[in-house]
Symmetry: none
């Protein structure tokens, strides 16, 4: 599933160039040539990232940016401003409107790609990394192995998924309900007490001597992974 990049730019040649390059990188690309339309489209399509020309007919890039950043639903979409002139004042103004980065024309496609990648990585919540660590816990999603203090630990499939889920959002408290939906699956029905049993097994497994317990029970709320 590739990211969706939206281009708000009126110069056709630049749009063509960007589109060509971004699609080669595997992004889904759409665009608009005018500010008012761009804003409408963005709100409709909710892209993952926006490349926005500084100057746009109808509604300037600055205005669009301000509008988006004000709205809770869209203020997480990263915006890269494309500015023609390399003047510093403009750069600063771009950041002030809430842009997340800017690039001056003419720009290097390689650098633009790098910046896009960086912003997308940052806005994607799940660190899609194959090896994730949290304090002295390490889990390898490829080899399906789990380590605590570099010592390997064996987990059953469910316990592995459970830990994998917890480690995506450490410290966050999840209800049994949420755990069932995310670890077992939306449509599977099992008793909510079942969660307790697996929590217990997970606890037993990851608990090696003289370490504090990593899974916190929050009465009447759920469980969380703690440091």
């Amino acid at each position: 599933m590739s990211a969706h990049v939206f281009i708000a730019e009126d110069e056709a040649s630049i749009v063509a160039l960007l589109k060509y390059n971004l699609e080669k990188e595997g992004y889904k690309v759409s665009h608009s040539e005018n500010g008012e339309d761009a804003l409408k489209q963005i709100k409709l399509k909710q892209p993952d990232l926006i490349l926005m020309d500084w100057m746009l007919p109808e509604l300037s890039g600055v205005e669009i940016c301000k509008n988006l950043k004000k709205n809770n639903k869209f203020n997480d979409i990263p915006v890269i401003m494309l500015t023609a002139k390399g003047e510093e004042e403009d750069k600063l103004k771009a950041f002030d409107t809430g842009a997340d980065d800017y690039v001056t024309k003419p720009f290097s496609q390689k650098e633009l790609n790098a910046r896009i990648k960086s912003l997308l990585r940052r806005s994607k919540p799940q660190s899609s990394s194959d090896i994730v660590e949290f304090t002295d816990l390490k889990i390898d999603r490829i080899t399906k192995r789990v380590y605590r203090k570099d010592k390997e630990i064996t987990l059953g499939p469910t316990e592995f998924k459970l830990l994998d889920f917890f480690i995506k959002n450490p410290k966050r408290v999840y209800s049994r309900e949420q755990l069932l939906n995310n670890v077992w699956g939306e449509d599977i029905y099992v008793e909510s007490r079942t969660v307790d049993v697996h929590i217990r097994r997970l606890r037993q497994a990851i608990n090696i001597q003289n370490t504090k317990p990593l899974i916190r029970t929050v009465r009447s709320a759920g469980y969380s992974l703690e440091s």
Copy 2:
């Protein structure tokens, strides 16, 4: 409460310059001159943003960055790489290691400030309503933790809900009736004296030495949360 910026850089003159400028901007600043120490300090202090020199003694910036980005506890801290040479290859490598931005020396302080501001804004989406503070009280609805003067406090579920409700409208006086409806629920019937008991328990819990009481009794009207 200002953000904490960590500088990992070995050239004393640059550190001095950065420190001076950042402190003027209102940031809390700390630094280290060597890679190994920097990593240790970062893990200890958990700064809000890192300025990292590309080349560092003991452990290169790239290595530190990789290490941080692997660990769930630290991979949310934005990193800005300071590169000496303006070579594109280096820039790209910087992004690949997980850096969130880079700046080539010599850099404009104004631009650096703008980039810092942008990254901090982006990384602080501590979803407004998930963490609520009132004077020296802080309640985190995600981790279900409550702090007074940064010291954690443990509350039972009902006391948590009660405080959570009060903090939504500080200084407002609620009758026992209103509290029962909003904290216990519309259709649950318990004695109104029960509220007093929970108010007491909440008071005891959030009361740590030499602080004035936070919950005011309004005779024949109810209770309110005060500063």
